[in-house]
């Protein structure tokens, strides 16, 4: 019985009440607020969700997740500029990051690369993309009609339009609704994945990859699959960003962007789906507010937050807030804390003698 959440509680529950309530709020928001900023926050939330799914539930931390965000954005820009219509561009912006992630993921996971070294490789890939895109100034660097533009990026490409009708652009409030729908859609997809056998096996991999293999599961294959799915969602977010910002630049691939999304996820709550979303919205809002003044540097605040969260709130905002509500149930609180902390650390490996160490055991 798929969706037998009562039995497999570690995969989390689908809180339909909350989902419907929040969805309604989001859909009614344009009546009260201007949608420009909320659209951006929604895009960031989707990006954070993609990392949160992979990291919180499969234990895969990428130090360069921005690579897929940027790849989605650039793919959209280049394709739409060449085709004049956005539907194919949209699809390619989702599929290409997924494909690239599958290749890189396969290389890493089948090669038994562990924690830190995986961090290096994912980081390096995003750096290569950033450097490469930053150096593509001049007419020589173009794909079809689209000049890659180096540091300045690619401006003035066709933004998203209603499929089949290139003259009707999705901009302003409709774009906001599109972003909200994508966010809700990806959230539900994530919940569906987690309630399936595939998702539960991912949890097992996060807990003890070696043991999962000893149960006969081909762990690298599962990891590659979730890595690819996560990249697809990040690509979708990137594509939406491109349409919102109407320009794509190499900074989208940058280390700063990769680190920011990591901070959003762990501040919001690693091991939940709503946590990363909330983290992105709150910290994203703060970043935008701080950006409007020069007295306090954004780096300072977000740096302080990161240090404090790691030291004091290892579970992140959402699980802490929920923990206060359930103050009686001490056991679940300490369990979640240990899970969350150990999820990030990955110690206690059970090494394979010759190949690299595979991550197991310590992801409690």
């Amino acid at each position: 019985m798929i969706g037998d959440a009562a039995n497999f509680s570690s995969a989390g529950r689908t809180h339909w009440g909350w989902i419907i309530a929040i969805s309604l709020l989001l859909l009614l928001l344009p009546a009260v607020f201007d949608t420009n900023t909320p659209t951006l926050l929604g895009i960031w939330a989707l990006f954070a969700l993609s990392l949160g799914l992979m990291w919180g539930y499969a234990g895969i931390l990428s130090f360069g997740h921005a690579a897929y965000f940027g790849l989605g954005a650039y793919t959209y820009a280049i394709t739409s500029m060449n085709l004049g219509e956005s539907t194919a561009a949209w699809m390619l912006a989702i599929l290409l990051p997924a494909f690239v992630a599958a290749l890189i993921g396969a290389m890493m996971f089948y090669g038994r690369i562990s924690d830190v070294y995986m961090g290096v490789i994912t980081l390096v890939f995003s750096l290569i993309m950033a450097k490469f895109m930053g150096a593509t100034a001049g007419d020589a660097y173009s794909i079809g009609n689209a000049r890659l533009g180096g540091f300045n990026g690619i401006p003035a490409f066709p933004i998203l339009n209603v499929p089949g009708d290139p003259s009707t652009l999705i901009i302003g409030v409709p774009l906001y609704y599109l972003v909200v729908c994508c966010l809700i859609f990806c959230y539900l997809i994530s919940r569906w994945v987690l309630s399936s056998a595939f998702g539960r096996i991912l949890l097992g991999i996060r807990e003890n990859e070696s043991r999962i293999e000893l149960l006969g599961y081909n762990a690298p294959a599962y990891k590659t699959a979730i890595f690819s799915l996560s990249a697809a969602m990040a690509g979708m977010a990137g594509c939406l960003f491109a349409s919102w910002a109407e320009i794509v630049t190499p900074a989208l691939f940058g280390l700063g962007q990769s680190v920011e999304v990591i901070i959003w996820v762990i501040a919001g709550g690693l091991g939940t789906l709503m946590g990363p979303v909330i983290g992105a919205v709150l910290l994203g809002t703060m970043k935008l507010l701080l950006g409007g003044q020069t007295f306090i540097d954004n780096s300072l605040v977000i740096g302080a937050i990161l240090v404090l969260v790691v030291l004091l709130l290892p579970r992140g905002l959402l699980p802490t807030a929920m923990g206060w509500r359930k103050q009686q149930d001490q056991r679940s609180v300490s369990r979640a804390r240990n899970n969350s902390m150990r999820r990030r650390t990955g110690e206690r490996r059970q090494p394979r003698a010759t190949a690299g160490q595979d991550k197991s055991g310590g992801q409690s």
């Binding site: 690369i113 290569i128 280390l255 680190v259 990591i262 540097d297 780096s299 302080a304």
Partner: protein
């Protein structure tokens, strides 16, 4: 012939640059398995210290070789006691917390010094090699890096401090067995690592205009160099610096500097895929 000498010098310079900027990170990683992502900012602060001292009239060599390491060493001590110590054994958490610290430091330095570049002229003039104009200061950097490696090797090999350090690398229990509190060993190790980062920052300060964000340029390459090098501090850093420095410069000469950097990054991925424990995880296993 001159061209060959120039290329060779550039390669050696690149290697020296990598060694210098990675040494601090390598000491801390090799000895404590701690990845200090604030390393780049330690380098940056070393640079700011040197420039501030030079502008205040202090001899620049004194500033870069003595003052900068001292100042950043103290900073490292504070960081270790307040933050890193709480997170031993939690590698990813340490990476995240030190990254937070690096952002914090960038913010503070921006607050104090503002966002315009500061600089100080190189104290050693350029020279000519055939028809090429070379930077004389680069030779100084190569010299310092060589001296650094030599000193580190001598300390590790021939002093009691080095012995305790190598023991602690194997396990904390060894340090205890030798009569040293592992916590203090780690504290001093981190401090020394920070001091080395400060030294690098000081020595490199005259090269370009320094910004609060300059640290970011160092951390990525240093991180990649150290991790690919593997657990052995000197041998690992040296071997990966040699490989990456050579590739970076050779490819740069053949095309553009950007392609050179990309080649270096790509090669790091290949190396790690082949040697998941780093270079010294496979070769030179027991070297210091």
């Amino acid at each position: 012939m001159d061209y060959a000498a120039v290329v060779l010098l550039e390669i050696i310079y690149m290697i020296a640059f990598l060694v210098l900027t990675s040494a601090g990170l390598a000491v801390v990683f090799g000895m404590m398995r701690v990845i200090n992502l604030a390393h780049g900012e330690f380098v940056m602060i070393g640079g700011y210290t040197t420039i501030a001292c030079a502008k205040a009239g202090i001899n620049i060599y004194f500033a870069m070789l003595i003052v900068a390491p001292l100042v950043v060493g103290v900073l490292g001590l504070v960081v270790e006691r307040l933050v890193v110590r709480q997170l031993y054994g939690r590698m990813i958490d340490t990476m995240l917390a030190t990254w937070g610290l690096s952002l914090l430091m960038v913010g503070i330095v921006t607050f104090i010094f503002g966002n315009t570049a500061v600089s100080v002229p190189a104290p050693i003039p350029g020279y000519e090699l055939g028809e090429f104009q070379m930077g004389g200061y680069n030779l100084f950097i190569i010299g310092i890096a060589t001296l650094l490696i030599l000193c580190m090797w001598l300390v590790m090999r021939f002093t009691r401090l080095g012995l305790v350090a190598r023991g602690a690398m194997q396990s904390a229990d060894v340090a205890s067995a030798l009569g040293y509190d592992p916590k203090r060993v780690y504290m001093w190790t981190f401090t020394v690592g920070a001091a080395l980062s400060g030294l690098a920052g000081g020595v490199l300060a005259p090269l370009t205009g320094l910004l609060p964000s300059s640290g970011g340029a160092y951390i990525a390459k240093a991180f990649i160099t150290v991790i690919t090098g593997g657990a052995a501090v000197i041998t690992g850093t040296l071997s990966s610096s040699i490989i990456f420095g050579t590739i970076n410069q050779v490819v740069s000469f053949g095309s553009t500097p950007v392609i050179g950097e990309i080649a270096m990054l790509a090669f790091a991925v290949v190396l790690l895929r082949l040697m998941p424990q780093g270079i010294t995880g496979r070769f030179f296993r027991n070297a210091p």
